[in-house]
């Protein structure tokens, strides 16, 4: 499915099904916005995404799966725009609509991981979980996390360093602690001690909180 209009209709049907169990065909057509057109509903029926019985619209299994992915992309995009990029709400809605059409599976998974597998969008609606979420559910921990979340003995790669202090960044980078470097958390108490290559480095909690790592 590549046509944005068709995707919009599937999305709309999903949203309406969330509101009330049945979707009236007339209401659906009334709520459609361009580029979605009434004629497209026919295309969807022909391609086997939806079934129309009397006045009601139902998903087929294939349609359900696709709609689910579209919704997931849309709402993850909203989360990303809202939480990370701090975009204003009206821009967020329109941008998220754009996003959902070009995000591929891999990028969606990355965003989901980055955000820590969120369960709901900024408007409070549920985000359908993907495979990565189920995997994360078993492991409980998000993939990218502050160094402070590691258990001693864990090996991890530094993903990024976020700090307000310029000097801290200089000090870390001149020691060679930079994104991409593999480390092992040696101990958490009384202070954090990490092993980087053949160097052991002790650092305090404030710094450890600024270093985001990804388990390897």
């Amino acid at each position: 499915m590549t046509e944005p209009g068709l995707e919009e209709i599937l999305e709309l049907i999903w949203t309406m099904k969330e509101e009330s169990d049945t979707v009236e065909k007339d209401v659906l057509i009334k709520r459609m916005k361009p580029p979605a057109k009434e004629s497209m509903l026919k295309t969807l029926t022909q391609d086997g995404y939806v079934k129309i019985t009397d006045t009601k619209v139902e998903f087929t299994n294939k349609g359900m799966a696709d709609a689910r992915l579209i919704i997931r992309r849309h709402r993850l995009a909203e989360r990303l725009l809202n939480d990370v990029l701090e975009v204003k709400e009206d821009t967020m809605d329109s941008s998220a609509c754009e996003f959902e059409h070009f995000l591929d599976e891999e990028v969606t998974t990355s965003i989901c991981t980055l955000l820590g597998h969120p369960v709901s969008c900024p408007h409070g609606k549920a985000i359908p979980p993907g495979e990565c979420c189920e995997k994360a559910n078993k492991e409980i921990r998000p993939v990218v996390m502050p160094l402070t979340e590691l258990r001693s003995g864990d090996r991890a790669k530094i993903s990024y360093i976020v700090t307000r202090y310029h000097e801290r960044l200089d000090r870390l980078s001149s020691m060679g602690l930079l994104p991409g470097v593999q480390i092992r958390l040696h101990q958490r108490q009384p202070t954090y001690v990490i092993q980087m290559g053949e160097t052991q480095i002790a650092l305090d909690t404030a710094i450890a909180r600024d270093i985001y790592v990804r388990l390897v």
């Binding site: 801290r168 305090d204 710094i207």
Partner: protein
């Protein structure tokens, strides 16, 4: 001492902290500079002439630096050396197993356009870890001489010497991307004219926001050009979300990573320790040592409440053994479960367990106890006694000689070998002098008077009392330094030190201060911020007794009762924390990050420890003996002129009424300014005399020793404080410490009277 014109060029030793620059410096020049196993041993530049080469080539040892854009005082010292205006070459010392971090500096040296020899030191440790470096490929890429060395075993030094003449600028060029490269060109144009160092490197430093460099350039450049640089920097910064220096560092790191990947290989690591040694360690040494630790902890804590215990009771015997057993089982099980299967080497295990959140503390207490036994009891007790009473003795009464014997521990048998009929150095001096002059004459009194003679008191105190204590302290301290234990202490105390405005790193000057506050005040350079340096300097001057003083104090308090020594430690400790806490609140500035490299645990080399102890004791005696003599002379003159009794009268309201001490102790406090240990000894003598047959009054002793410990620092320390912190700060600290120490003494006296 060395005219720059004489040597053709200088050779600077540069590198990351704790990679062995000072060892190589010693080997090249034959001059000893302190070598230890922790980053920050060298905080000053040392110079020497290279042996074994024609012509006078001056070698310069610099403090370790992780980056040539300085973030602390010692890094600044190293960097400024490289910016100086004369022809120089660089021996860059790299820890071979940490090639990546070393090459980060090489790229900066290459940018500065300096000729470099790369020394891959600790080659043995690299091989031990199953790593290898393709030196040939690296040499080909960089196009400079690369020498493999094991400096502590003198391996590779000759090769290093012979390649000094064939240095070359490393063939490295990092492209920082269009935006930054354009900026570099623009800044280079502004800098045009200053040709001492490659302008490209200066431009990169300025773009990285190097404030120290700006200060240096301010006078050399036409006004306004620095502002122009700022504008250029701010313009480039707009294109990046991260600070420019970070962007530059990342570019550098990426470049180095690619290079390291090409030349460095790691094969899977195998446990190197022989199975038998491992067996002995895990099944015998660890349980035994752990039992000892537990046993000692129990007896130590019981001795503190000894007055409440019944002597010879069954519990006295059973509790330490039970505690020892529990500790033994706990340590052994822990180590066995965690380490045995991991095939770690012994030094790795020791390195880990000495930072372990729980296990490290009993180990620390045991180490302190061993140091106390060595320095406080053997050094300050037995040795001082022997030197003071037997070797030096008194000018008027013979000491009676001493026995040489062998004592066998446990069965308590003593075999006398011979009796030495030596009546004491001072006694013979006295006899000799009395052949010429009467013992009541002023000259005899000047040198041999029992209270203030230059030889009888000054020389005897300096050598007989200070020498053994300081010597044994530095011996113990050297072992801690060289094994790598000290930086692990920093890990343990970081949380506490945070409360007093410092971080764990400050434990290094603090512990060194227990050896000599003067040396330690210099070491505060390794701290990152001005605020930390001021707090550390103040606390060193106020609450850290030096080894000589601590030795004397623990000796005299130990003679009375362990509980008084415990109170002493408690009072001084709380003052350290309290004043530290207050000053961290009062002084402006932000706390700095605790980010510190922990060196691997290494087997200390005995030869280095002895040489180091020798040089430190030598330094100490050179410093102490003249001051002791001067102090004694001042005391003698003051006594004869009656000034002393005048000062005593003036000080009487404070000493007598407020502190409750005999007025004679006043001159002890005055002497304390010359040497604090000297003051402590002299107060002790006064109190002993006053006590007469009843013995010394322990409360008076405790109060006076607390005051003399907190009291103003000795003259040498004060001079270093002025040098490091400026006269204003030094005098402000002085003005705070003087009344504060007396106030605390007064409060302590009142509290003690309640019991």
């Amino acid at each position: 001492m060395f005219e720059t014109g004489v040597s053709a060029f200088k050779v600077a030793l540069v590198g990351n902290p704790n990679v062995g620059k000072s060892v190589i410096f010693g080997l090249l020049t034959g001059k000893y500079v302190t070598v230890s196993n922790y980053p920050g041993t060298t905080v000053e530049v040392s110079k020497g002439i290279c042996k074994g080469l024609d012509g006078r080539i001056e070698i310069v040892d610099t403090p370790g630096a992780n980056s040539l854009i300085p973030l602390s005082e010692d890094e600044l010292v190293a960097r400024d050396m490289l910016l100086e205006d004369y022809e120089k070459r660089v021996i860059q010392v790299v820890d071979a197993k940490n090639l990546r971090r070393g090459l980060l500096i090489t790229t900066q040296l290459a940018e500065m356009g300096l000729p470099v020899i790369l020394t891959l030191n600790m080659w043995d440790e690299l091989l031990d870890r199953g790593m290898n470096i393709d030196v040939h490929a690296l040499q080909e890429t960089l196009n400079i001489p690369i020498i493999k060395t094991i400096a502590t075993h003198r391996v590779g030094i000759n090769a290093l010497l012979s390649s000094i003449s064939s240095t070359g600028v490393p063939n490295l060029h990092i492209d920082y991307g269009n935006a930054i490269e354009e900026g570099i060109l623009k800044v280079q144009k502004i800098l045009n004219g200053d040709t001492a160092v490659n302008t490209r490197s200066l431009a990169i430093m300025l773009l990285s926001g190097d404030e120290a460099l700006e200060e240096k350039l301010r006078d050399k450049l036409p006004s306004g050009s620095l502002d122009e640089c700022h504008r250029i920097r701010d313009n480039i910064q707009k294109q990046f979300s991260n600070p420019l220096s970070y962007v530059i560092n990342i570019k550098r790191a990426n470049f180095v990573n690619a290079l390291v990947e090409r030349v460095c290989t790691t094969v899977s690591k195998e446990g190197k320790t022989h199975p038998f040694i491992r067996g002995v360690l895990f099944y015998f040494l660890v349980p035994l040592a752990a039992f000892f630790i537990g046993y000692k902890l129990a007896t130590l804590s019981m001795s503190l409440i000894s007055s409440r215990l019944q002597p010879e009771s069954f519990m006295n015997f059973i509790i330490p053994i039970a505690v020892g057993g529990v500790t033994s089982i706990w340590f052994s099980l822990y180590l066995y479960l965690r380490e045995y299967k991991e095939r770690s080497t012994i030094s790795e295990i020791l390195g880990r367990i000495t930072m372990h959140p729980v296990a490290a503390f009993p180990i620390l207490i045991t180490i302190l106890w061993i140091v106390y036994k060595l320095v406080g009891e053997f050094g300050a007790g037995t040795c001082v006694d022997f030197f003071e009473n037997k070797v030096f003795g008194s000018s008027l009464t013979p000491s009676g000689g001493f026995d040489i014997y062998i004592s066998i521990p446990f069965i308590k048998k003593i075999y006398n070998i011979t009796h030495v009929n030596f009546q004491g150095f001072n006694y013979y001096c006295g006899l000799l002098a009395q052949k010429i002059i009467s013992k009541d004459s002023i000259v005899f009194e000047l040198f041999l008077n029992e209270q203030s003679g230059l030889i009888q008191v000054g020389l005897t105190y300096a050598i007989a009392i200070v020498f053994p204590i300081v010597g044994f302290f530095f011996l113990a301290f050297g072992i801690m330094e060289d094994s790598g234990y000290l930086p692990r202490l920093a890990v343990m105390v970081d949380k506490v030190f945070k409360r007093i405005g410092l971080n764990g790193k400050a434990v290094l000057p603090m512990v060194l201060g227990l050896g000599c506050d003067t040396m330690a005040t210099l070491t505060t350079r390794i701290l990152n911020t001005k605020k930390e340096r001021i707090i550390a300097t103040l606390l060193l001057a106020l609450a850290i007794p030096c080894s000589a003083q601590l030795g004397v104090i623990s000796g005299v308090l130990g003679k009375i009762s362990g509980i008084y020594f415990a109170i002493y430690v408690f009072v001084i400790g709380t003052q350290l924390l309290f004043v530290g806490y207050l000053s961290s609140k009062v002084l402006p500035g932000t706390p700095s990050d605790f980010l510190m490299e922990i060196p691997p645990f290494r087997m200390p080399k005995l030869s280095n420890i002895f040489i180091k102890t020798f040089y430190r004791v030598h330094w100490f005696l050179k410093e102490a003996v003249p001051l002791f003599m001067l102090g004694t002379l001042a005391l003698f003159v003051a006594t004869k002129l009656g000034v002393l009794s005048l000062i005593e009268r003036i000080g009487a309201p404070v000493t007598k009424n407020f502190l409750g001490l005999p007025v004679e102790t006043t001159h002890g406090f005055i002497l304390g300014f010359l040497r604090r240990d000297y003051g402590a000894v002299s107060i002790f003598k006064v109190l002993e005399e006053k006590g007469g047959d009843k013995g010394i009054n322990p409360e008076q002793l405790l109060v006076s020793l607390v005051v003399i410990t907190l009291f103003i620092p000795c003259l040498a320390n004060f001079l270093v404080m002025i040098k490091e912190q400026g006269a204003k700060n030094a005098f402000l600290m002085f003005a705070f410490i003087l009344p504060y120490s007396i106030l605390i003494g007064g409060i302590l006296r009142v509290i003690l009277q309640q019991f």
